[in-house]
Amino acid sequence: MTFCAFFVQSSEIFISSGVDSMSQTERKHNDEQDIAPLHASRINKDIVQFFTSPVPDIMLCPDANNILVSHAIIIGPDKTPYEGGFFYFYIKLPHDYPFSPPTVKLMTTDQNRVRFNPNLYACGRVCLSILNTWSGPQWSPGNTLMGVLLSIQSVLNEEPYKNEPGASSLPHRCTDPVAQYNKIILHETIRVAISYYEQVITSNLCRDGHQMKDPFNQPRGKFQYKQLLVEFNKLKGKYS
């Protein structure tokens, strides 16, 4: 519950800072009226799977106003240059779901400035065969929203440079392009996909030094937002 609240809160930060007109206009339509019961029940099934069989580091938050819209966060997997980063994906299902695939947009791009992966463009475009945006095994109605997010998670891997088809035959502009690419992604992950914590810390600085009053009466000590900020800046300095 607490995490859910946190998730909603943080996704609001993402949404208010990132989502473009796409979702604003969507919200105005009442999409639900046009959806056949068979499609609606299937969509619910896809969503419920995230709560009945959750997968580590993938979270889904269905939009309260539109059954065709969901917000997902994938946390960068350990031992990858994406480690610990929060990547926010805006998901829109077509009216004929599951016959056609969802459209997915990466919102964590520092306003279209960062290309996080050969498959994840700076404009937010997600290139994956399961989304019919890349060659290979195409979307089929047997696939699920969970399957889509697992596919996206799998491109956030240890050596994203190699996701580029034919990467090995590209002209070598540096001696070790795999490592070089990882260094850049690591930096950008910390700068873009983690730094939003800075906002959270800054907006809570006023609590610093105050006693934490636990409703269950457990001893908690004091809020230490200033110290968190120092540590955060140290970390940031290390990679900037």
Binding site: R42, F99, P141, N143
Partner: protein
């Protein structure tokens, strides 16, 4: 992957919009499966084409009528399912065997690795349709029900999905055999992911052979194209059996035929 990204995304959006518009126009003007029409209605499509007109004439010698299906890439599976169920409604013994086959198909596919979560919806819907048209005293009513269900997008498309998955299952089960029929250097599994399981993908001989085998069906396809000659060419799948489903093939499209 090109970094020309923003325009890529916009183009995708435009193409998608245009596609939706075309689909909408087709769905407003063409039913998923039409009422029976006489063979001669085909003439209106080929007014000045001597080759086609003589072939329509030849077709009319063997068949009394046809049902047109919506040209959406799913036409083979929709026409096949409709034609086969029409036959089964009138043939109780085959119906029972067929029902049993489909009933068991879900577990078989799950064992092959298809995800149960999504499979069961398609399977349940297909079973529901099969049960709702079960042979009875009043077959006329069953056939009307069949026609109604096949023209409800939800039911109709769910049937198509399940048949696509069964086709994929059959192809993968006999991958060593079917491998010889596919072009390019992809595996049967890749072929299924790209050409069989996705909706709106057109069907070829290999799809027909596989689904006929999976469901014990015998299909005759009458080929009508611009090739020389004044006769349509019949091909049976499989070749040795008496057909119980009759389809008309014109390049890129299948309709249902009714023999005299």
């Amino acid at each position: 992957m090109d970094e020309n990204t923003q325009s890529d995304a916009n183009n995708d959006e435009l193409i998608l919009q245009q596609q939706r518009q075309i689909e909408k126009e087709i769905s407003e003007t063409t039913p998923l499966v039409s009422d029976k029409q006489t063979i001669s209605t085909l003439n209106s499509e080929y007014n000045d084409d001597a080759v086609y007109c003589s072939k329509v004439k030849n077709l009319a010698e063997k068949y009394i009528s046809l049902r047109k299906t919506r040209p959406d890439g799913n036409c083979f599976f929709r026409a096949f399912a409709y034609g086969y169920l029409e036959y089964l409604v009138k043939n109780k013994d085959d119906y029972e065997k067929f029902r049993d086959l489909v009933q068991k198909a879900k577990d078989k596919l799950v064992k092959q690795g298809f995800p149960e979560l999504t499979l069961e919806d398609f399977h349940d819907t297909f079973m529901d349709v099969i049960d709702r048209v079960a042979p009875s005293e009043n077959n006329e009513e069953n056939l009307q029900e069949l026609h109604k269900l096949f023209n409800e997008q939800g039911y109709s498309d769910y049937i198509v999905v399940f048949l696509r998955l069964m086709t994929s299952g059959q192809l993968q089960e006999e991958a060593d055999f079917f491998f010889n029929f596919i072009e390019g250097d992809c595996t049967i599994q890749e072929f299924c992911h790209q050409e069989v399981e996705p909706m709106y993908k057109e069907s070829d001989h290999i799809h027909i052979i596989a689904i006929c085998k999976a469901l014990n069906a015998n299909v005759r396809v009458e080929y009508m194209d611009r090739a020389d000659g004044d006769k349509v060419m019949a091909h049976d799948f499989p070749e040795v059996n008496k057909p119980n489903v009759f389809l008309l093939y014109r390049p890129g499209h299948y309709d249902i035929l009714y023999p005299k």
